[in-house]
Each structure stands twice: as structure tokens, then as C-alpha cells.
């Protein structure tokens, strides 16, 4: 293999493999080996598709996330098995709805987990636990003004991450 191509593959791996693994593990119910197979297939498809590599890193990542998600969903369909959250034998349309809900959850979980610990904490207090600004300020030991501004930075950081992953319409 020419040196340049090996380098290209290595760069793809270093830049995107961890982010993809975090996403795909959440689509495979924590099956890390299966997730890694999907990540491998996704990166190989990118490597074979030079147009993807010419894009900016941000849109390349969105492409990779879309491909990874398709591989997993096609696999669900092919095995006629459903993601674990689905227990009954629902009609095709509902399977698609549920699959897209599972994908949404994996996307947002990946993005939240990728935030800084401080940003995650402020969202945990205000959003998840439904605390008021002053309650959150007390719980986190910071002034109320900081709760508001930190919420602002956290949510904008989350938006940027989701956008990179191609998760926003």
C-alpha cells in the first residue's frame, strides 16, 4: 500500500474512530465488538470515497455518522430483529419510527457525553433534575448568573457537536 494511503487511513481513524465508536456502541446495546466492526466498515467506505475526504472535517463526520447509522439499521432489518427496546412485533412503519427514536437517543447521548464535565453538570441540574436557577446555583456552588451563562455555553456546545454529527435538520 502506498505510504500516502496508509497515512490517510490513519488520519481518518485518529480523527473519527473514537466519536463513531461512542455513537455506534449506543446503537448496538453496548456490544463493543459489533460496534467496532461497524466503525471499521464505515471508515473503509470513507476511504473508498475520496469526495468525502475532500470535505471539511465537520461534514466528513456527518457523512460518517450517516453511513454508520445506515449499516446498523440495514443490519436490524436484515436480521429481522429489532433494537432491544422493541419487544412486540410491530408493523414495518412502527419499526422505522422506533429505529429513528433509538438513533436520536444514541445521537444525543453521544453528544451529551462528549460535553465537558461542567457543562454536563449544569444541564443535569437544570434540565434533567428540573432545578430552578437558584437551586442549581446552590447544588453546584456557583452564582445564579453563572448557572445561566454556563447553560448558554453548554447548550451551544451541544448544538455544535450535534451539527457536526449531522444530527440537526
Amino acid at each position: 500500500m502506498p505510504v500516502g494511503e496508509a497515512e490517510l487511513l490513519r488520519a481518518l481513524h485518529d480523527e473519527h474512530a473514537a466519536a463513531l465508536q461512542n455513537f455506534v456502541v449506543r446503537l448496538t446495546n453496548g456490544d463493543r465488538a459489533r460496534a467496532e466492526d461497524v466503525v471499521q466498515e464505515t471508515l473503509l467506505r470513507a476511504w473508498k470515497n475520496p469526495k468525502v475526504l475532500d470535505q471539511s472535517a465537520g461534514s466528513a463526520r456527518a457523512w460518517l455518522f450517516t453511513v454508520a447509522r445506515r449499516i446498523v439499521i440495514d443490519d436490524w432489518r436484515a436480521r429481522r430483529s429489532r433494537p432491544e427496546v422493541i419487544t412486540a412485533e410491530p408493523p414495518e412503519q412502527r419499526v422505522d419510527d422506533l429505529a429513528s427514536r433509538v438513533v436520536d437517543r444514541a445521537l444525543i447521548d453521544t453528544a451529551v457525553a462528549a460535553l465537558s464535565a461542567e457543562h454536563r453538570a449544569v444541564l443535569r441540574e437544570t434540565y434533567l433534575r428540573g432545578a430552578s436557577v437558584s437551586q442549581a446555583a446552590q447544588a453546584l456552588g456557583i452564582p445564579p448568573g453563572t448557572v445561566k451563562s454556563r447553560t448558554h455555553y453548554a447548550l451551544h456546545a451541544l448544538r455544535a457537536t450535534l451539527e457536526q454529527m449531522g444530527a440537526l435538520s
Partner: protein, 224 residues
């Protein structure tokens, strides 16, 4: 603190619904006057909606980060190496095929010049590759009283890694577009075989003759 600064960071708390009633009302009123804040709130709405699907565990202090194993990169590199190797095979396979065709054409020319023009046997006609494959073939197509006699001459590259138990089918398509399989045979790498076959279709009715894999992929075709 000026009015603008006071509102600058309230977009997210507003979207998530964590402002107290007074501040919420004030900010809502401000939104109708401030395009920047309105745009910022709009840009966060989908994020707020997606947050509704998140798992509580994702917000944990020590949210889990999954690292791919150290084996991923070596596996990627060797997968690519394997694919390049296979592609090289296909390319060299095509070269062998081209050489084989040249021999065939030469043979045909010699045979044609030597044979009597009224020979009832069909001349072997080289089949054209539909996809890259390690197989080359020619077909003799002869009109007979009961229909059409077809004799295939097939040769397989020996170095190719055929799937064990691979079989090929001979398929004839008529001018109406319907196909029939005339028979199947096993692949014998490195050897040449002749496969005699026939159909009740008259030669005029036959549009094409194909060799397909057991799973239905056409490898070679001869249009009549």
C-alpha cells in the same frame, strides 16, 4: 449591566424552561424586539427537543467514553491491503482474458479460412464480460430441426480463489425478454470444459445467452 448584556445569556435557560416566571416574561418580551436573541433561541430549539430523548446516564459526572480497541487500525490497514490485492487479481485476470480472446480470434480466423462455408456447425462466438470475472467462454450456436443447439466452451483461471462448490448456470433470454436456465455445472479451476446444451427456441427467437453465478449474477453474455 446594560439591558442587552442582561439578556445575552438567557437563550438556553429560556429554551430549557429554567428561568423564574418574572425573568421568563421579561425575556419573552425582549425576544420580540431583539433579532439576535430570537435567532439564538430558534437555533437551540431542536437541541432542546432532542434533549428530551437523552438517557439520564449520559449526564453522569463520569459519562462513559467508549474507545475503539487498539486492533482497529491494524485491521483497517490489512482490510485495505486485502482489497488492493484482490483488485490487482481482477486486473491481471482481465489481461489473461484479453490474451485468451486474442488466441480465440486467431484460431477462429484460421478455422474460418480453412472450413467450408456451408459448415452446419455454428462458429464459436466469444462471450463478452458483464463483470470482471476469472472466467472466459465462447458459444457455438447452431440452428437444428428441434430448435437450437448451444455448446459452451468455458475456461477458468486457476489462480483465482473460487468459493468452494461454486456453480454456474447457462441462461437463454428470448426476444420477449423471458429467460430460461438450460443447465448448470461445477467450476473446475484451471481447466477448460465444453458444455453441450440446447433449447426448443429457434435461433431467431434467442436474444442473448448468459453465464450466471448460482446466485444469479451475469458474468458473460453473448447477444445474437
Amino acid at each position: 449591566m446594560t439591558g442587552e448584556d442582561r439578556f445575552a445569556h438567557l437563550d438556553a435557560a429560556y429554551v430549557l424552561g429554567t428561568l423564574d416566571t418574572d425573568e421568563r416574561r421579561e425575556f419573552a418580551a425582549h425576544l420580540s424586539e431583539c433579532d439576535d436573541c430570537a435567532a439564538s433561541v430558534a437555533s437551540l430549539e431542536e437541541v432542546g427537543r432532542l434533549l428530551g430523548s437523552a438517557s439520564p446516564e449520559a449526564f453522569a459526572d463520569d459519562a462513559i467514553q467508549y474507545e475503539p480497541s487498539d486492533l482497529l487500525l491494524p485491521r483497517l490497514l490489512s482490510a485495505v491491503r486485502e482489497q488492493r490485492r484482490r483488485r490487482r487479481w481482477l486486473v491481471s485476470g482481465a489481461a489473461v482474458l484479453a490474451a485468451a480472446c486474442l488466441v480465440l480470434v486467431t484460431t477462429l480466423l484460421v478455422r474460418t479460412t480453412n472450413s467450408t462455408p456451408s459448415s452446419p456447425a455454428g462458429h464459436p462466438l466469444a462471450m463478452t464480460a458483464v463483470v470482471d470475472s476469472p472466467v472466459s467462454a465462447s458459444a457455438e450456436v447452431t440452428a437444428v430441426s428441434w430448435g437450437t443447439k448451444i455448446t459452451l466452451h468455458c475456461s477458468y483461471e486457476s489462480s483465482f480463489d473460487y468459493p468452494p462448490g461454486a456453480t454456474y448456470d447457462l441462461v437463454v433470454t428470448d426476444r420477449q425478454g423471458s429467460s430460461q436456465t438450460l443447465g448448470s455445472w461445477q467450476v473446475t479451476p484451471g481447466k477448460q470444459i465444453s458444455y453441450p446444451s440446447g433449447t426448443a427456441l429457434t435461433k431467431d427467437q434467442i436474444a442473448s445467452i448468459s453465464i450466471t453465478t448460482g446466485s444469479g449474477t451475469a458474468l458473460l453474455r453473448l447477444k445474437l
